[in-house]
Symmetry: C2
Subunit: 178 residues, 2 copies
């Protein structure tokens, strides 16, 4: 999927709708991907995201040591792969091979972009002080890639226990809210 660089000042709109993301990491050259729904924007510029990764997740050690990751945003077409990545562990399988996901090199970090996702945000870990108490990593988005054709992406929003709400119509109202 061909993606274009997205201005970092606009990237908050990709995250604050609350989509499931696939967090990719790289550990000893092996890529891994885990679905994650517990995230929030923390600042506009530079764009900061807080995300919760439990130390029970295989990705935890890679994120903590490499201090880099990519947040990839899938659409509903990838729902089975998202659930597959959530039901398995990178400790035992190569999720990219198992779920036919394509790892593409990122520009600034070693963690890969997932080609099939409509948006990919290259991140560095900016603050780990909240990890012990809340599992909360503060990420700075360094570069953002978006499919320019995805005007109203049908993102997935986890309701718990494998139920996902799929993004519906977009409405616009006169608003001063960024």
């Amino acid at each position: 999927m061909v993606k274009s660089r997205c201005d970092l000042s606009r990237v908050h709109g990709l995250i604050e709708t609350g989509p499931v993301v696939l967090l990719t990491t790289s550990r000893a050259g092996r890529p891994n991907a885990m679905p994650m729904s517990w995230h929030t924007m923390l600042d506009f510029e530079p764009p900061l995201v807080g995300c919760v990764v439990s130390d029970r997740n295989y990705s935890f050690a890679a994120l903590k040591s490499a201090r880099e990751c990519v947040l990839n945003i899938p659409t509903a077409k990838l729902a089975r792969q998202v659930v597959g990545c959530g039901n398995t562990t990178g400790a035992k399988i190569d999720k990219f091979a198992a779920f036919h996901l394509t790892a593409r090199p990122a520009s600034l970090v070693r963690a890969p972009l997932i080609d099939e996702c409509y948006a990919s945000l290259e991140c560095r870990v900016a603050d780990t002080r909240l990890v012990r108490k809340y599992g909360l990593f503060v990420l700075e988005i360094l570069r953002a890639w978006v499919d320019p054709a995805a005007k109203n992406p049908r993102t997935l929003h986890h309701r718990g226990w494998g139920r996902f709400m799929v993004a519906g119509q977009t409405i616009a109202l006169p608003s001063a809210m960024r």
Copy 2:
């Protein structure tokens, strides 16, 4: 709107889809409401939510001093009121009167429930140590109220600049993810 108590173990499913919430506070007996999209679950039990409230918001002082609030989740029917609350400040107007919102007493906190919202989560501020650096308040959800008829609520998800994605269909897949 008649709401029932929702088991706290299930409340994460209301938040992790990423809906716009109306955060209500009470200050010297005057209720206020502000829309907020920057929030994330931080733990299941007790349910903790991290939410970003800027010190430029009128609600900031009330939240910091009273250490209580309610997270009310509106559906698309309330889109105009949500934007109205975002375009105005409680320093100048009574938003409940201006936008025809009904304040109902909560059971455990002084901040009000918004009757028109399909879910309301009574919260206490559990941790303010991240407020200075990130504007991040850690809230513990003490009690949750949900309209039992709202099976697939058409929640609002902010895309920025007054554009909202409205929740679409729900799909279910076999998943081990809570």
